[in-house]
Symmetry: C2
Subunit: 597 residues, 2 copies
Amino acid sequence: MPVYQAPVKDTLFVLNDVLKFQQYNNLPGFADADAEMVEAIIGEAGRMAEEIILPTNQIGDQEGCVRHDDSSVTTPDAFKDAFNAYREAGWMGLSIPEEFGGQNLPYTLHTAISEYFSSANMALMMYPGLTQGAIAALLAHGSDEQKHKYVPKMTSGEWTGTMNLTEPHCGTDLGLLRTKAVPQDDGSYKISGQKIFISAGEHDLADNIIHLVIARIEGAPEGTKGISLFVVPKYFVGEDGSVGERNGVACGSLEEKMGIHGNSTCVMNYDEATGWLVGEANKGLKAMFTMMNEARLGVALQGLSISEVAYQNAADYARERLQGRALTGAEEPDQKADPIIVHPDIRRTLLTIRTFNEGARALMLWSALKADMHHRSGDAPQAESAHDLLSLMTPVLKGVLTDKGYENATNAQQVYGGHGYIEEWGMSQFVRDARIAMIYEGANGIQALDLVGRKLGMKNGKPIMAFFEEVGEFCESNRENDDLSFFTKHIKKGLNDMQASAMWLMQNGMKNPNDAGAASTDFMHLFGLVGIGYMWGLMAKAAKEKLDNGEGDKAFYEAKMQFARYYMERLMPETATRLARIQSGSETMMAVPAEAF
Amino acid sequence: MPVYQAPVKDTLFVLNDVLKFQQYNNLPGFADADAEMVEAIIGEAGRMAEEIILPTNQIGDQEGCVRHDDSSVTTPDAFKDAFNAYREAGWMGLSIPEEFGGQNLPYTLHTAISEYFSSANMALMMYPGLTQGAIAALLAHGSDEQKHKYVPKMTSGEWTGTMNLTEPHCGTDLGLLRTKAVPQDDGSYKISGQKIFISAGEHDLADNIIHLVIARIEGAPEGTKGISLFVVPKYFVGEDGSVGERNGVACGSLEEKMGIHGNSTCVMNYDEATGWLVGEANKGLKAMFTMMNEARLGVALQGLSISEVAYQNAADYARERLQGRALTGAEEPDQKADPIIVHPDIRRTLLTIRTFNEGARALMLWSALKADMHHRSGDAPQAESAHDLLSLMTPVLKGVLTDKGYENATNAQQVYGGHGYIEEWGMSQFVRDARIAMIYEGANGIQALDLVGRKLGMKNGKPIMAFFEEVGEFCESNRENDDLSFFTKHIKKGLNDMQASAMWLMQNGMKNPNDAGAASTDFMHLFGLVGIGYMWGLMAKAAKEKLDNGEGDKAFYEAKMQFARYYMERLMPETATRLARIQSGSETMMAVPAEAF
């Protein structure tokens, strides 16, 4: 069975030493999260992920979900106890306002612990994960009545939530949706239609399932301007919060998927199901994006989570598997062979994953802190600029962390040789599970298009300029520091490539949108390289300070410095290739006739 | 069900117009393969792959193989008829000498058609594929008696073959093997031990299975110097070629794998099984490499095969799936949405796969032609230099075509959005099947090490210098041609990066083998980029000639020119990043202590 140890020490390093988490204790909820409290929370979440959640992962993949003739769905046996332990510990409500049963702690902490839980069992953690997105939508757009009716029981995990967007003929292009909503005299709507790929659409882990569904009200405009959001509970909820009759929504079938077998992916049939409008009529797309942006960050985290757990197993295997000899002569002459970790190509593989993971973790937490500043800062310009940076970073995190998460899982699997291909070892599951994260909540091509088409030019480019300024300032202020100039040199080179790309996009993408589209994926990855490179700059600086002061675990900080160096030497050079591709434009690819493909 | 159309036109373009296949008609067997004959063979193989083999692919994945209590293994139902049709058509023996029942046609043709069959069903084609490797080993190292006893029935496909190398504790490092061979008075050996990951080890498609097994003769030296190769038939073969009693070898269990479910991957238990030495005692490693090199080319082809079939499906889907609008305005205003092939990012995805596939196909055939020259040329220096180039190219083909084959299958799957993740559509199978090709017959890290550690320096670097010279000469002689200078400029830039890398390796890799190991995978991919880039140069030149002469299908050659341009603009720039990584050396990665990973 795969192993997993929550990277508590690394999370704390990022929070305390890199992001200086404690300096935000003027924000609501942060004062409750002093250093001791943070360490206790992170540590306890790590322990539960390792001891309670991880053991359910592989058996969940093997057992899968089963739909029965009465349309009910059972999840893998072991999931019940694990989910109970998770919700009873209160993890669902960590950063939900107290008014709705939560603890109102920083979202940054929620992000930190969610990584652990998804490493331990991604498929299981999708049940609460989708619930978080539904809660966010209800809190942002629901009526007071809706909030109080649904959110507390979702926060406690007694009920779960879903997002119902996709239909057979429309995924990305929701303007094509056909599910219809017919207004009733009592203010409710009758919802009819079919939704597909609904994660956690039906299951046996909760007493009720609160579906958030987009549909078109009869007579509404065509396209995305006629989309409304509805809340459709599986069971009606009485005035007293009790669960009553069954609503007209049921799971028609389960999809056979490549991975995440423990999560029920449902075809959901709505047959005059009763729903209530969330927010304004025909403004459903905006409400949906509240859910979606939250969900995108959750999916980004899944990419990191799988990359981390796959890495840990590969590193263990590489230390244990005896095969061949070091290129420079036997390192363990008493053994029949050396452990394969002596080989540079194995180290290259492992360090490429690890330096990505640690950089991505820092970037996730850096971004989550922006979400907290947006929601909690009393300073309006600070809140706004935090929100802008988070908006800019969301597609980058989603696209890059999931693309690399899958690639990293594949490379970790490769360390096992033939054993990696056998299901017994668990590495195949990591790859199969990681694969979906590149697709759902907006396929990564859509993330890239969101980035270059919408986010790059938002507010006249203010957010991207703020990012350039922050990274540039870091390079400038540390470039004469002998300990850091190696890092700033590489980061600055990457930043230059990124700025040249942005400039090229401004000059060409406006005139010819196809140039922007053709550049989008490369620009997204270029952004990821520089974003993570910047994190490594911050981490190297923090680690060096610790070493200079003789504080803490010397080996940990020395390794950090080596990882930072590796990232600069081996990963940053890719920015040049990305720039060259971007600048090659769209002419060639658009010249090929569709039938010649 | 996935579709597939054998790329007959492209294969013929490479053979006839790029490689000028007919100019080799002085080689034995080539005279029989005139242009008409080649077209008939290629066309007929394509037809059978499409009509007979393809329909068995998805059901084979779903049904899988089953081991029964008596240790027998049944393959998916549909495999029997398909395999019968394949062997009865004589495809097994296409390039086997007539003396052993084959047709002695060029190996290049065998390579061309094998691509089609593996596209149609990779798991099924492994049964004959492994047989080809076993035949090659027997023909090269077996006694006359062994050749005549086993090869004709393997050529006809009545019997199949296997390679038994791996043991639980040794894969890459075969020096650790424990399977022992005890000499008997009659000159045979009793073989005992356990082999794992034995593809096609036991099945119901053939009347006998001829296992080639490496083992250590009692008292033989330790390590690789004490390895011998044995032939161990499942059933003993009488003087008259009849199949007799069962030998002491049986399938202990089947592995549960990520993919290639239609192929039986067996744990094989040898319990005093009777075997006969193939070649000399303790020289088994050399004989094994004959098999292995053949198999590596076969596996390289699998990478291309899956990439091709995955591409074709993604391109069809992109032409049919209506979703969203072109960035420059509706292209099909009468439809509710445009087909997604209007989007630059979809085109980028598809062209990145397609230009790889066509370049890889050319490089495979270019290399296969070297194998034919090696085996058939009467001119000794020509035969030798062909062999050297093939030896150099084998790890590059295996490593690069399978790494990219998997990546391409993943990207083709991505075009489908959520549907790509559902098994029903078949794209997940392509990814799961393609994954193994990066691992077996020497994991790709081993290929890279073979390249930089053994092949680069062989014969004082003569083979690599010959490659540099050939590519350099192409660039030099076409650089003043206005139609080709765009291509030669990019190829030359890639070649320069590759030469700089080779120079760096010579200067550093000798002094510090870890520098070579750290550079190996990047150098292998750099080689692949330049090798395929060179093929695109040759293809652009051939296509331009056709266009200038007004010959043939104009649209086909125009598309070729666009694809060539795309490859130069979008894929060649990666050489710079590879060079930078190579030149960063091994110091950082080797400095990290094993326990810090």
